[in-house]
Amino acid sequence: MSLGIRGKLLLLSALAIALLVGAAGFFVESTVEDTLQTRLEHELQRHAKAVGVMLETAAAGDSLDDVADRAAEATSAEIAIFDLAGRTLGSSSLAPIELEQLGTASSDPEVLAAASSETSSALRYDDARELTVMFVARKVAAPRGAVIARAAAPLNTAHARGAIRGTAVVAGLVGAVVVGLLLFAVGSQVERVLQPVVSSAAAVKAAETLDGEEPDADDGPPSLRSVAVELERTVGTLSSERNQFEAVLQTMEQAVIVLGPDQRISTVNRAAHTLLSLPERPVGRTLLEAVRVPRLKQLAEEAAEGGTHSDEFDLPGGRRIDARATQQGDEGLVLVAQDVTEIRRLERVRRDFVANVSHELRTPISVVKANTETLLDGGLDDPKVGRMFVEAIHRHADRLGRIVNDLLDISRIEAGRYPLNPGRINVGEIVDHVLDLVEVDAQKKKISVSVSVEPDLAVIADRKAMEHILINLTSNAFKYTQDGGSVEVTAFAADADHVRIEVLDDGPGIDPAHRGRIFERFFRADSGRSRDMGGTGLGLSIVKHLVDAHDGEVGVDPRSPRGSVFWFMLTSDGDASANEARVASATAEK
């Protein structure tokens, strides 16, 4: 059985009132009883004293019993007189005959105590009268020696107690009525406030299907309980959705920055940290504080006016980004940026390749065509002139052949169809062999060639490929070194597992901007000049492809004060400890 809120409140307050009134009644009762007892004792003391006075003034013939009777009459208390041994000499409650029959001395404690200590009192229950009687005994002087006068009167508290209890009951009832009324008023007020909550909770419950789960009746009103369950479920769903969103955001390749309505960053993802080099804690900062890129700020400002705006530009670090900004109503602004550096580079490579390959092929073809036309137009008739034209045709056909061969080589290496048979190659030996092949170019230009290769240095590589690499690099060096200049070939252990081979020239060097592109097909740092030198524009590209096929590394560094250092690294063949020792001694020398 349920009591309802108001019932419970009423029961509780009734209990509280009962306890309160009971406690108050008990306290008042005991206080009143104490007071009554003290007052009665004082009164009886006075009566006992009065007996003493009456004994002093009594006529000579008066018996002590008469005095007691008179005193009882005057004081409306029971009076008895004892001698110091406790024998009853007179009593208002006993007739003289009864008195005489009373042979023994009194055993009442107050009488005995008063004989020794002037005065004493006691409370005793009188079985015959069924009430508590107070006795006060006092030693008084009498004409014939000291006696004990005792006054007694019933301690009548029952009346007082009844009055107190009656008042308490009335007060309790009045209190209960008042509290009941108050509770009723407050309860209605609370009900009015709670009613909409309860009914809307019930409505939510009615609207939601709770997949069969019955709410537990002990945990509160069913509707509220179901609202709690629903809320918990909603919060759970929201947080899991948020986690999913966070995971997607963080794994995105594009950099995302969200600006709140206060123009401060509210969210960023990992890619934004990397691409835009954000500070450690960007949230809460303005865009400029986090990314000092005016173009990005400008984009955000344009987007704030409405719509989506995009722009492509370089970051101060050199990366190129494609950025897009969209204003999301009043919620804030979303900036998305993508790194397009590599895409743009590849686009340029492809564009340049198409332009270059057609240019490279067209030149010899047009020479061949023009010369054959001349020959057909009568050049054949003049053997001297004819020979000159045929030689030119031969030269350009050679060039065309070289370009086509190089292109085929590259595509074969790229397709993995360039047969590589890696084996142990002594570096000193292969360098000498290659220099024998190409030295004729150096001699023509009076270039001094020096070789410095650590003894017993060996790599794991394909002999043909290694020759190809060295031929391309050394002939390039001879091509770009001025007459009378110098070229140096060095090889040393770069670390325990790698050998580094360098070709150093003292040519014009390569612009820093071109260094990254020099290994691209047909890329020419200085197009006019290198074509004059008879290059196909594919030599370095082949070198890069071959070194890559060996899992090696290739690069170009500037040489001080002028010239370049072309280098590549291959896996060494030899025991690692020997190489380590070489590296250590080289470092020590430095």
Partner: protein
């Protein structure tokens, strides 16, 4: 209530001053990067575009100066606010100088791309990147209130100086080897000199930031000790 409103207005003015200063710094950083690229890539168009940015930087210098004066007159800021406003006034001067030097580099880039081809010294792009990092470091120290970053900028200045000396020596050597390129090599040497000057301006910026954050002036230590001694005598 009136006081709170004034305080709020003051806060807003400081915040927008800060934003303008950051925008100007961002432009200057961009100019250094672009000037360096225009030079090594022989990109005349990029050089002209970069020179055009200088106008915005000059305008920002004037506007920020004016804004600072207005704040000083209207709010009479104290302590760190006062240091910030005076710092902003000094920072714009250094930033504007750096932008001017970037313009100089762009002019040389145009000259060099018209002259006979010459390979730019390999250390020039390294210097450009370093200087750009130095300026960015000073501004980052300012934004993050991180004086250790500013001290780092001061420590790294030597690296820029060393590179300058190397470019200088190498240019001399190259002039000796190729007397016909002396004209272009002098241009390249000037570029290195300007980059070195930019590095000096970035250390000025770092010193200002340290002053703002730590409240102590670390410029010209030899005069500092004299000043401190003078103050002591005066206080005695």
């Amino acid at each position: 209530m009136a006081l709170t409103q004034t305080a709020r207005k003051f806060e807003a003015e400081l915040a927008s001053l800060r934003e303008e200063l950051l925008l100007m710094a961002g432009r200057v950083e961009e100019m250094i990067h672009r000037a360096g690229r225009a030079l090594v890539e022989r990109d005349i168009k990029l050089a002209h575009e970069t020179m055009a940015l200088d106008r915005a930087v000059n305008r920002a210098e004037v506007e920020i100066d004016e804004r600072c004066l207005v704040i000083l007159a209207r709010h009479q800021p104290l302590a760190s606010d006062l240091r910030f406003v005076t710092l902003a006034m000094k920072m714009v001067t250094d930033l504007e100088r750096i932008a001017d030097l970037a313009v100089n580099i762009c002019e040389r880039a145009i000259d060099l791309s018209r002259a006979d081809r010459i390979v730019v010294h390999a250390d020039i792009p390294v210097m450009t990147r370093l200087v750009q990092e130095q300026v960015a470091g000073s501004i980052d120290a300012f934004v993050n209130g991180d004086s250790s970053k500013a001290w780092e900028v001061l420590d790294n200045d030597d690296e820029v100086d060393d590179l300058y000396h190397r470019v200088f020596e190498d240019s001399l050597e190259r002039m000796r080897l190729a007397p016909d390129k002396v004209h272009q090599l002098i241009h390249i040497q000037s570029v290195a000199k300007w980059l070195e000057r930019m590095g000096d301006h970035s250390t000025n910026l770092a010193e200002l930031v340290i002053f703002m954050l730590e409240g102590r002036d670390i410029r010209h230590p030899e005069h500092q000790s004299a000043k401190i001694a003078g103050n002591k005598i005066a206080s005695e």
